[in-house]
Structure formats: structure tokens, C-alpha cells
Amino acid sequence: MIRHSHLHWAAALAVAFFAAPSTAQNSGEQHPSLSGTWLQKTPGAQTFNGFELTPAGEAAFERNKKGIAASDPDIDTALRCEPQGVPRMLSPGPLPFVVMQTPTVIGVVSEAFAQPRLIWFGNEHRKGYWPTYMGDSVAHWDGNVLAIDTVNFVPTTFLDMRGLPHSDALHVSERMQLLDGGKTLQDQVTIDDPKYFKKPFTLTHQYARRDDIKIVETVCLNTRTHP
């Protein structure tokens, strides 16, 4: 099941990337290209701070922390190789990821769990879509900043490696831009989830351009765990 979903994602990404972008909505405008291979700058995996949980959020956080401590795959679903999803995949630590930008869509392939993410240019989320690990991402240029809006997540993923939870009301806003003349990619991630958090909160990631790295295929098979 997991492997099938990986294949579907990969196929979708390939179709999106190689389809002729003849209907590019941004044609004629000059925008930065975020394409390249990127490696997270900050040491270690970042975790969110400065959040205020609602009582429901606190209960979910406690449940998740216990599940992580017990290596329970029904709570920490990445243990059985389900994708970490957005926003947790935005903090892949030492595993690099590739961004491929076309006029219509931006593809992200991470070496962590081989997670493909598609960010579609446009303003409207697709209708009738179901909850997914990556959510439904739409983006537009705000000057040189790519503003990404993502909704419609499965509620089982964690916001970060510590097990910070989210509900089905999760709304992720990102502001992604190049810095240092293109040597750095920055992503300011804002979490809004009124069921689990009293107010929105933000975490900023930075990634170094590492076009010298070719990422490797990383199919998560979970061949074994410690007894």
C-alpha cells in the first residue's frame, strides 16, 4: 500500500515536471528559481516553540509523546514508513532534498522517506480532494517571496519529531525565498490550527544550496526494528 502510494506520487511528479508548460500562468514574468539541491542549515532537527496548546491539543501531544516513547506505529506512523508529511518533512536534518520549479508547479523530492511534494501555482485549493500527508498546496509570488498555502492534511502526522500534534483544521502558510544571492533557501512556516493551538506560531528554516549532492533513492521499507 505504502509502496503503491509512492509510485503514484512519483508518477504524478514526473508527469507534472515533464508536461510542456504551455499554459504557464506566470509566463512573461520574471521570478526567482528555487530549483536546486538543498541541505538544512540548522544543526539537528528543528522543533516548534512558542506554541500554546488548547486542552484538546495538550491531550493529543501527551498521546503522541507516549506513542513515541513506546515506538508505537499506530501513533508514530512514520515507524511503518508512512510519509512524515508537511510540515515535518521541512526539517529533514542531514538528508538533502531537490526542488524542481516549472511555471506551473514546484516539485520537491526529499531523500528523507523519498517524500515527493507538489506545490501548484494558483489561488484555489482543489475541490473534492481528500486529506493527504502533504496536504493541498497552492502558491503565488509575492514579489520575490513564494507564498504557499496548504490545507487538507491527514490528522495522524506530527508537526515535528517531538510529536507535536495537529488536527484536521491544520492550515500551513509558508513564505519561501532565496537569500545570499541564491546560496540559501529560507522557508518561514506558520502553523494555524485553532482546534489544537490558541494562536498561530512560526518557525523559520534555512537550507544551504548543495547542487554538488545527488540525492539517492530512499524507499522506506521498514525492514526491521529493534526487538
Binding site: A78, L79, P94, L95, T218
Partner: protein, 129 residues
């Protein structure tokens, strides 16, 4: 507590310097990250797979009893960029490994590095390349 047997060459108990695993597929709580143990043995199985590479090593314990240590490493991409390949180890290879041992004393741990019979060292660290 881990019982150090004759197959364990040296038990170097070292303070750890900020080596929290950056990509925690699981909590890594079963490993004692404050300890490093050096073990010599023979490769039984080398599993080059994700999410994590595994090495099974047969170690001679006291009274000649064989212990099979299950050693968990990192994602293949991280190891590849530290010089590993899918052919780095094969069953029968004599190796020396440094590991963070299991907290509960079972034979196994988180792999830190491998020294091959010819002295070549393969690291297994989360540091960015």
C-alpha cells in the same frame, strides 16, 4: 545494564557531544547515547536498506558462546556520502565496531563506526557533509 564479556574489547564510556540523531525514525531511546562500546566480531548479515541500514555481527562471548549483535545505522544516503556502498560489508568479514549500546543490555546498539580488517574506517554519523 550491559554486561561486558570477553568479546567486548574495550568499554569506553565517553561523554557525548550533542549527537542527538537528527533524523529519528524512532525515538532512539533504547540506545544509551552516553556510552560507547567497542565490539569485535564477524559479519552475519549486512542489510543495505531504508529507513536504516543494519549489520548483524556475531561476537564471541565468555565461555565461547556466540552473541549476535544487531546494529542499527542510518539511511543509505547518509552512509553513501560517508564512503559506504551496498558492497561495503559481506558475511564473514571480520570487523570492529563502536556502538551506543542498548540500554536494556540486549546485544545490539546504534552504530557509530566500523573498522574493517584492513584498517579502513567507515563512519556512521549524522553530521552534514
Amino acid at each position: 545494564m550491559l554486561k561486558f564479556r570477553s568479546g567486548v574489547l574495550a568499554a569506553a564510556i565517553l561523554p557525548l557531544i550533542g549527537a542527538q540523531p537528527a533524523v529519528a525514525h524512532h525515538s532512539f531511546a533504547m540506545f544509551d547515547l552516553t556510552k560507547e562500546v567497542t565490539v569485535q566480531g564477524v559479519v552475519k548479515q549486512f542489510t543495505w536498506a531504508n529507513p536504516h541500514v543494519w549489520i548483524d555481527v556475531v561476537v564471541n562471548g565468555d565461555n565461547g558462546q556466540a552473541q549476535t549483535w544487531g546494529l542499527e545505522s542510518l539511511a543509505v544516503g547518509l552512509l553513501y556520502r560517508q564512503g559506504w556502498t551496498a558492497d561495503s560489508l559481506k558475511p564473514g568479514d571480520k570487523i570492529t565496531v563502536v556502538v551506543h549500546p542498548m540500554r536494556d543490555g540486549t546485544f545490539g546498539g546504534q552504530l557509530m563506526r566500523v573498522t574493517l580488517a584492513d584498517g579502513h574506517v567507515l563512519n556512521s554519523t549524522n553530521a552534514r557533509q
